[in-house]
């Protein structure tokens, strides 16, 4: 019984590998339905859970704990495809949630606070200057030359402050972070306290006593504007300059396919570091392609697939945990003893795939080069002669696209990239290349290697809503050895930090005249 299922598993596996590579895979749904062929996976009660189950498999396994009859899996397979569709639905819903009211509330609240604070800051010096004229104009000393010079100084300093605040703070929002930005909050509180204390002093010492020395009042207003400029300097240092010097080297690993990148970051809080890493992610990491991971998952599932565990003592005999432990240990031991030839299959399968990809690529390159020879750019003098069939780039692309469409589609299917590129996008890219006089090789480069996520349209990103998972508080600073996760729906980025070491350098002076050479003397050795 056991050997039977083992053999059938192998034969069906090899059949599946030949079949799947011959016919290609049209979509994610079709790919999921193919998993029904490896039916030996479905009929095993596996206790060691796989690392990351396929979207469909988890549902199927849950339903079939005791089911040995694989013939009935066909009905469950449609449940699989429904699951994968509903997962897409969830993603679409979360995309819509981004524009929902709840998140905007917080944004508008902070925006309102910032506007109020800004207005307070700018109107305060003007108020200091204008109020004496309004409240006790007859008692006020007239403004002399030095005083009027101070007016100019106040005006220009306010203008500079306005421009500086606009440059630093009025930039389009990059992201919505989970916690408040600590430095900005501290600065806002500092400015508020500062302005309030100035108002207090002004209210008590000047308004109440109705001071006549207008020059003193103007100097007071000038000192306020000076101090505001210094606070702005502090804001620049805290918000912009402090994190420029690289302090940490972070290693970012994508959990699904192991892509690793290293970045240098300065002293940042964890949420700001996560933001910087995500902005690099969109530019550096090749787009996440789940179709490429299916092979290793099916291999992992097959490792334990050939074994069946029977509970001969009957259910309810041992405690559940003990039963689980003994069963998993038995399976691991059996798997270790079994002669495993899956490495052999992997080797030949990969060699075969490599060969197939190269063949398709060769056909594609030839087809594209031939297609590009069918059109040529019309010169200026030919345009005046007005020949018959003149096309704009889009029509030219549509004219030559059919001759290369088949080869391109086959190549994309072989490298499992067909869902990243729609026909419309390919024709658009072709029109773009024709307009800019690109060679066929330049046109093909974007299809031969997967580019960074930003290059693809938004539907294919699979990385929109990010969750920051961290043991330390996200507003605390990066430290040596801190680890946090950035999770989106399909995969997660694991980030580890290491501190850049302190470098101790010493100097040694070499006198240029000290470079002297002699011939080697005859050495004598006694033997």
């Amino acid at each position: 019984m056991d050997t039977e299922s083992t053999y059938s598993g192998y034969s069906y596996y090899s059949g599946r590998s030949r079949g799947s590579h011959r016919h290609g895979e049209r979509s994610r749904d079709r790919h999921k339905t193919r998993s029904k062929d490896s039916r030996s996976e479905k009929s095993v009660t596996i206790n060691t859970p796989p690392a990351e189950p396929l979207l469909g498999d988890s549902a199927v396994r849950g339903e079939q704990v005791q089911d040995d009859n694989w013939g009935e899996t066909t009905t469950a397979v449609t449940g699989t495809s429904e699951h994968s569709l509903s997962q897409e639905d969830i993603v679409r819903i979360t995309k819509d949630l981004e524009d929902s009211v709840g998140l905007d509330c917080r944004r508008y609240f902070t925006l309102a606070l910032a506007v109020i604070l800004g207005l307070l800051v700018f109107l305060t010096p003007l108020a200091f200057l204008v109020l004496p004229h309004l409240l006790w104009p007859e008692k006020l000393q007239s403004c002399g030359t030095a005083c009027e010079g101070l007016f100019i100084s106040v005006a220009f300093k306010l203008l500079i402050l306005l421009l500086a605040v606009w440059a630093l703070f009025f930039r389009p929002r990059r992201a919505g972070l989970p916690r408040v930005f600590v430095f900005r909050a501290l600065l806002a509180v500092l400015v508020l306290l500062f302005v309030v204390s100035y108002w207090l002093f002004y209210g008590v010492r000047i308004l109440d006593s109705q001071d006549e020395n207008y020059q003193g009042i103007v100097q007071y207003a000038v000192s306020l504007v000076d101090a505001l400029l210094f606070i702005h300097y502090l804001a620049i240092v805290l918000l912009e300059l402090r994190q420029l010097q690289p302090c940490f080297s972070v290693c970012v690993t994508r959990s699904t396919d192991g892509e690793i990148r290293h970045y240098n970051l300065g002293q940042l809080s964890i949420q700001r570091a996560a933001l910087a890493i995500l902005e690099h992610y969109y530019c550096d990491f090749p787009v996440s392609n789940p179709a490429l991971l299916s092979a290793s998952k099916s291999r992992a599932a097959k490792h334990l697939a050939g074994l069946k565990v029977y509970n001969v003592d009957g259910p309810g005999n041992n405690a559940a945990a003990g039963l689980v432990h003994s069963q998993s240990r038995a399976m691991i031991a059996a798997a270790a003893r079994r002669r495993d030839t899956s490495h052999n299959e992997l080797y030949y399968e990969e060699a075969e795939h490599e060969r197939r990809v190269r063949k398709r690529k060769a056909r594609l390159v030839v087809a594209v080069e031939e297609a590009f020879t069918h059109i040529k750019r019309m010169q200026e003098e030919e345009q005046k002669k007005a020949p018959g069939d003149v096309m704009d780039p889009r029509e030219a692309a549509q004219a030559i696209f059919p001759s290369m469409a088949r080869a391109l589609q086959k190549y994309l299917r072989t490298t499992k990239q067909q869902h990243c590129h729609s026909m419309e996008s390919i024709q658009q890219h072709l029109a773009f290349c024709i307009t800019n006089n690109m060679t066929p090789k330049a046109f093909l480069e974007s299809y031969l290697t997967p580019g960074p996520t930003l290059q693809y349209s938004r539907d294919h990103w699979r990385a929109r809503q990010w969750t920051l998972i961290s043991e330390a508080s996200v507003t605390s600073g990066l430290k040596d050895g801190s680890v946090f996760l950035l999770r989106c729906v399909d995969f997660s980025l694991v980030v580890t930090t290491k501190k850049i070491p302190y470098i101790q350098m010493s100097e040694e002076y070499i006198d240029p005249k000290s470079h002297k050479f002699v011939l080697r003397l005859q050495s004598e050795t006694s033997v």
Binding site: L519, R520, L521, Q522, S523, E524, T525, S526, V527
Partner: protein, 128 residues
């Protein structure tokens, strides 16, 4: 003893066999060598051609095995136990002579007096 690069070297050689003497845990031969392709040939007092980078005997310990075997100061070593000594570094020559598992070295040495002796003997006894 001068040589033309690229042409085979002809020399009159004498075969000398030296039995190594055990002194403590070393096997010594009782002479000193100088020269080698990594050394400065212009400082060799024994060579005729100051571009000759061969291995020369620079000192003989009186009463040592080399002296007893007939080695003389100024001899040029051509072969040691079959290994060529005309194009070796100083260190390679030292190693060839001081192999611990050999207690006999068979040298082929040449000196100017040998050539003259051969010429004289050829001149004294002209062919009939």
């Amino acid at each position: 003893m001068s040589f033309v690069p690229g042409q085979p070297l002809t020399a009159v050689v004498q075969r000398i066999q030296i039995q190594k003497l055990r002194q403590g845990e070393n096997l010594i031969l009782g002479f000193s060598i100088g020269g080698g392709i990594d050394q400065d040939p212009g400082q060799n007092p024994f060579s005729d051609d100051k571009t000759d980078k061969g291995i020369y005997v620079t000192r003989i310990t009186p009463g040592g095995p080399a002296n007893a075997a007939g080695l003389r100061m100024g001899d040029k070593l051509m072969q040691v136990n079959g290994w060529d000594m005309t194009m070796v570094t100083h260190d390679q020559a030292r190693k060839r002579l001081t192999k611990k598992n050999e207690d006999v070295v068979r040298l082929l040495v040449t000196r100017k007096s040998l050539e003259e002796a051969v010429k004289q003997s050829m001149g004294c006894f002209p062919r009939q």
